[in-house]
């Protein structure tokens, strides 16, 4: 009988444990719900900026981490300047590292509804974030009064902030892809460093010449794994006028001559003329060390690649030039676009939303302030901690807007990078193309085609694309 009583004890304790687990979960839900209650002191969604006398506390991620001394100092400086404008607003800024740069952690925090009140995400995260059901519609809060320059935002940018006609986020960064190249290797290979290739035929020919330098140098490198292969396939397809999916996003549209051209050219560069070396690049970060050490002639990338090479890997900024993404026989017809933005967690009071918008506008969307205070960033740069000012970003405003005019003017006086070396990219804008639906799944499928083209001498582009097409159609049918 003693045995029975002990068993009962174990059962009771087990039940209590499980009940506690359940209670812990349900209590977290209820506390989140209770914060949605508002009263008059919490403000109203009247489309006006935050009342400077309102007392509000907000939390936001994206603050520079301990390893970013210069950025940390300027961020603290900005918080103080913001305090002068809104003396009663307390900004709890959470560090940048982790939630922002680590996708699994980002996903976990969304699932646990543990995001900061305003949280950073990428354009491609839209479906994931909206599916979490934990974001606020800020349509009635944003206008030219609360976010100066709102009406000047590029249509492609706004499209990423909105869903079903409602606005959910504010942008802080926007880019398109171009061709990054090593000017030093161009010179050594007898090429003109001021004239980057503008067609894929030229890229192929130049890559072969650069690879011929030997010593482990490869003319061109491209991704083939970790979803980055498919991502670059999409970018190269866009440049040739192709499309990943049809206009209503229901069928694959890449199994065309343009799609085959992308794969065939990479295959030829790898196995015929040696323009691509034998080392496959399977992860996003793999591409950068050889770029930073002058082992790669050309690479397709966003302008922030240069920033990463200079600020993180300590590469010499003078090495790199940037041109527009190459096209078929002339300028490319499209270039893949992307960017970063801030969403607003559900349950914020109107004044909290207004305060978050005011801070994001101050820190990220005001020329001359925050991230656009180039003069201050330059002053904080040191020889051992370089700051890359002047990467050729598109930013997010219309090129003729007052915002862009001021940004470009400020850059001329404060750039630490050789902005003349990016003139071809800046002066030859290519139409941006948005990423396809279910982008990451499609990219994963095309990884296989890209890796086959660059690792398998017997790869058949037509067969690879047919296989990928049927897989992508299945993915799109399940959306």
């Amino acid at each position: 009988m003693k045995h029975n009583a002990s068993r009962m004890m174990v059962a009771l304790v087990t039940a209590a444990g499980i009940a506690m687990a359940g209670a812990a979960c349900s209590s977290s839900h209820s506390s989140s719900k209770s914060s949605t209650g508002t009263n008059s002191a919490d403000g109203v969604a009247d489309g006006k900026p935050l009342d400077p006398n309102a007392t509000v506390t907000i939390t936001i991620d994206g603050a520079p981490g301990a390893d970013q001394a210069a950025n940390k100092a300027s961020y603290a400086d900005d918080l103080q300047a913001f305090k002068i404008l809104y003396p009663n607003v307390t900004v709890n800024a959470k560090p940048y590292v982790g939630q922002v740069e680590d996708p699994p952690q980002f996903t976990a925090s969304l699932k646990a509804k543990n995001e900061t009140e305003a949280f950073h995400a990428y354009f491609t995260d839209k479906n994931q974030v909206l599916d979490s059901g934990d974001v606020t519609d800020i349509s009635s809060y944003v206008n030219d009064q609360t976010v100066p320059g709102w009406s000047q935002l590029l249509p492609g940018v706004k499209q990423n902030l909105q869903d079903s006609g409602k606005t959910y986020s504010l942008p802080i960064n926007y880019y398109t892809e171009g061709l990054i190249y090593n000017r030093d290797l161009f010179t050594k290979a007898g090429l003109d460093p001021n004239k980057p290739p503008t067609t894929w035929d030229e890229v192929e020919a130049d890559a072969a010449k650069i690879s011929a330098l030997g010593g482990g140098v490869t003319g061109y490198e491209d991704y083939s794994g970790g979803n980055t292969g498919g991502w670059h396939f999409a970018g190269e397809l866009d440049s040739l006028g192709g499309q990943m999916v049809n206009s209503d996003g229901t069928k694959a549209a890449f199994n065309t001559d343009q799609g085959k051209q992308v794969l065939q050219r990479l295959h030829d560069m790898r196995f015929k003329d040696g323009g691509i070396g034998p080392t496959p690049v399977t992860q996003w970060a793999d591409a950068f060390p050889p770029l930073a050490t002058s082992k790669v002639g050309m690479f397709l990338g966003a302008p922030d690649v240069i920033q990463h090479l200079v600020e993180v890997l300590g590469a010499d900024p003078k090495l790199y030039g940037m041109g527009p993404i190459p096209g078929s026989t002339g300028p490319a017809t499209g270039t893949l676009a992307g960017g970063d933005l801030y969403y607003f967690k559900k349950g914020l009071t109107p004044n909290q939303i207004k305060a978050e918008i005011a801070w994001i506008d101050f820190e990220y969307l005001t020329p001359g302030k925050g991230q656009f205070d180039f003069a201050r960033s330059k002053a904080l740069a040191t020889s051992d901690k370089p700051v890359a000012i002047g990467i050729p970003q598109k930013f997010f405003w219309n090129p003729t807007s007052p915002q862009m005019t001021q940004v470009q003017s400020d850059l001329k006086t404060s750039a630490t990078l050789p902005i003349d070396q990016y003139a071809d990219f800046v002066n030859n804008p290519i139409a941006p193309v948005l990423e396809p639906p279910a982008a990451q799944q499609l990219y994963k499928v095309l990884d296989t085609a890209m890796s086959a083209a660059m690792t398998n001498a017997n790869a058949d582009p037509a067969k690879l694309l047919s296989t990928a097409e049927s897989q992508v159609n299945q993915i799109l049918a399940n959306q």
């Binding site: 034998p278 799944q441 990884d447 296989t448």
Partner: protein, 314 residues
């Protein structure tokens, strides 16, 4: 009968517990083993929170879908979706290939090393440290070393092959050699622990058995066959089971070294699960895949238990 429950007789002649005395009995039981139950309670709460609850939640999630914050029940929809994905079958083939290769090489290599180390009468301690060293490296750092060793252009392995006038290999960059390359990496990383376990088992074999075998004229191979293997059968079968369970969950090597390529040749089931959850944001489909994997591993465990019982009955 100290904990007998108090009962009352009902009108129909049956008895039922009054509950009162049973509560007293329970309190007495709890009081006598208070410390043990306190420890048990902590462990059970941890298991409930971090193992059982996520498991149950995963099973529930595998029958649901989430869209724009709304959760709906979809029955076997996620299971149909995952099994219709060509990558699903490829991932299982890849996993089976890795498991089979790891069993042949990863299982045999540490056992052979343990036998060799066991034969050394001197410097056995140093050899043990040497064998165990790779385990002390952080897993990703150890695996990353092989990225440089196996570089098809200027990697150390190809330089060595070139020096020996042997043909170079593409290692991780070819569909045919990528999986065996991962087995090499995995075997190297995990060999130390398995070798020490085998070594402990070998050192538990009574020396007179070997003496008897030698007197009977057994050579080294015969001694291994007739003494070593039968004497370590239990630990060998346990390690084989653990090896199957561990290798079927291979992820780190593929994630760090190949990103699932080339041509999807190293996308394992767990890597596919990771992709569904964190790259595609399809947690419910990932949960369905996790449940399928759980069932497969449970089958292996059941087979092991049945074989083990039969073995002990024999």
């Amino acid at each position: 009968m100290a904990y007998a429950l108090a009962t009352e007789r009902l009108h129909d002649g049956t008895e039922r517990s009054t509950g009162r005395s049973s509560w007293k009995a329970l309190r007495r039981a709890a009081g006598r083993n208070l410390r043990a139950h306190a420890f048990l309670f902590g462990a059970l709460v941890c298991f409930a929170l971090f193992t059982w609850y996520p498991m149950v939640r995963e099973i529930i999630m595998s029958f649901q879908r989430v869209h724009r914050g709304q959760t709906t029940w979809v029955g076997l929809g996620n299971y149909r979706q995952i099994t219709a994905d060509p990558e699903f079958w490829q991932a299982w083939r890849n996993t089976a290939e890795f498991t089979a290769l790891a069993l042949v090489f990863g299982f045999a290599a540490p056992f052979c090393v343990a036998i060799v180390v066991n034969e050394f009468r001197h410097a056995q301690g140093y050899l043990r440290i040497l064998v165990y060293l790779p385990v002390m490296l952080p897993p990703v750092a150890g695996i990353l070393l092989f990225k440089y060793f196996m570089d098809p252009g200027f990697g150390l392995f190809n330089q060595a092959l070139h020096f020996l006038h042997l043909p170079r290999s593409q290692w991780l960059a070819s569909k045919s050699s990528s999986m065996p390359s991962l087995v090499v990496v995995s075997t190297w990383s995990n060999m130390g622990t398995a070798t020490l376990v085998y070594l402990a088992a070998l050192q538990g074999i009574p020396g007179d058995l070997y003496e008897a075998a030698e007197l009977d004229g057994c050579n080294v191979l015969q001694r291994i066959r007739h003494v070593t293997i039968p004497q370590t059968r239990l630990i060998l079968s346990l390690m084989a089971m653990l090896q199957i369970v561990a290798t079927m969950q291979m992820f780190t090597e593929a994630f760090v070294l190949t990103g699932g390529g080339p041509e999807g040749s190293t996308t394992t089931v767990v890597y596919l699960l990771y992709n569904y959850a964190f790259s595609y944001n399809k947690f419910n489909t990932a949960a369905a895949l996790g449940v399928i994997m759980l069932l497969v591993l449970a089958c292996f465990s059941a087979i092991y238990i049945v074989l083990e019982r039969r073995g002990s009955e024999d």
